[in-house]
Amino acid sequence: MNAVLSPLAAIGAAVLGMLAALGRVALFAFDTVTHLFRPPFYGREFAAALVQIGWLSLPVVGLTALFTGGALALQIYSGGARFNAEEVVPSIVAIGMVRELGPVLGGLMVAARVTSSIAAEIGTMKVTEQIDALVTLSTNPMKYLTLPRVLAATLAVPVLVAVGDAIGIFGGYIIGVTRLGFNEAAYLKNTVDFLELWDVTSGLLKGAAFGFIVATMGCYYGMNSGRGAQGVGRATKTAVVAASVMILAANYLLTELFFTS
């Protein structure tokens, strides 16, 4: 009996463990948000986080979008050729980019770049007692470290997504015009005509949610890092994995929410 049940018990324990972790993350996220409404607010840290998370992520997000837009154009063209619908390339590239690929790939790239660095930095601060030192200097680590990063990411990632959208569409345009024989003006007209405002704003909203996830996971796992270099390593890895999975899950839920009614 035990032999039959033990794999189930292991699965059950893992699921319970995951739910408990999710609960703790949710409490942490809630706590972070409440600090937004309780002074002091550390503007300098916020500005530094904006530069780190927003500005310095531009190259990564831009390159990702450029290549994705190009690949998307090629795919839609060869897929569309099967039912003589090659002319949909511009609109599908645009819609695919702004609704789905821009925010998701942008979010994942930012998770790789930002979540890891936040988790490693805060984790190192934790194991070298810098977080304790902050507390003894009457500075709340949630206000000084977490809130500036989470707020900066929530505001910066939508901007990154917008830039990524534009670059991605441009990538599709280049391929469309140079490789697939589209007329330049027709490609642009097709893109603009079929794109609705909600396509873009829904993607930006996703970006904000992903930004929030990215920074919150980095801060949470950093703050709860184990002792020593090994502890920081584990915290960093877990943070990136958790942020990526949560981005994909949140993307599904938001798509469900935005586009099925």
């Binding site: 002091p40 070298t128 810098q130 304790d132 030192a133 507390v135 009457s138």
Partner: protein
């Protein structure tokens, strides 16, 4: 006055503090000695609320440390961490004047910087050090920056976790004198952890020895050499033989 009553703390199965009783009078200098890993740092951190004891009570001026306004409570303290715990994203002077750049004690940056440079001078560091980053300093220099940070806002209660480890004998002497000065001239209450017996004699009004999770001996520095306590005697003379086992 700081009072610890029957304080217990365990990390998992490891019982570190097992009923610590200790009183530190206002304006006096208490030195905590004891073997490595006996829980001296944990004891200090539990007074600050960085470690929450499993049981027992800790009060400062009769008020429980866990109750009341944490910020106002911590504003009275300065702490030098054993590892320095400097913020490596900030230059030295901003580390030292961290408290003076934000919060209740905030003042203009220029003034905060001047205070930082003055405190650095007191721990034997040149003004040029102010603009370096912690990672550019030697271990002993980092320790002294940590010390400067602990005293920067002139707190009434200061904790020093091994202020002289990693320092040369002359610098250790300077630091000992500084700590003594802070207590006698500024009337601060100090609690210092040290393994350095010359520091003990230079800094202490009273001494407490932590062993096996309890305060094994405590008394004034004048009684240090004729306490008749075998544990204390073995410890201060650094003998391998005695009631304290060498492998713990």
């Amino acid at each position: 006055m700081i009072t610890l009553t029957n304080v217990h703390k365990a990390f998992g199965p490891k019982r570190v503090l097992q009923g610590v009783d200790l009183t530190i009078d206002k304006g006096t200098s208490m030195v905590i000695i004891g073997g490595s890993g006996t829980g001296k740092s944990v004891m200090l951190k539990s007074v600050l609320g960085l470690v929450v004891p499993d049981s027992g009570s800790i009060t400062v001026d009769g008020k429980d440390v866990a109750a009341g306004d944490r910020d106002a409570f911590l504003a009275r303290f300065g702490m030098l961490f054993q590892g320095g715990a400097l913020f490596d994203s900030l230059p030295v002077w901003q580390n030292v004047s961290f408290r003076l750049l934000r919060g209740a004690l905030k003042r203009p940056r220029e003034e905060a910087r001047e205070i930082a440079i003055e405190k650095l001078r007191r721990v034997g560091l040149k003004p040029e050090t102010a603009d370096l980053f912690p990672s550019e300093l030697s271990g002993g220099m980092q320790k002294r920056v940590g010390l400067a940070r602990a005293i920067a806002a002139e707190p009434e209660i200061i904790f020093f976790d091994e202020p002289t480890t990693g320092l040369d004998p002359i610098m250790a002497g300077v630091i000992n004198e500084l700590i003594r000065e802070i207590v006698t001239e500024m009337g601060a209450t100090a609690m210092t952890i040290t393994h350095d017996m010359s520091s003990v004699r230079a800094i202490a009004d009273n001494i407490a020895m932590l062993h096996d999770g309890v305060i094994k001996w405590s008394g004034p520095v004048s009684k240090l050499d004729n306490s008749g306590d075998p544990y204390l005697d073995q410890f201060i003379h650094g003998r391998a033989e005695g009631p304290i086992e060498a492998v713990r």
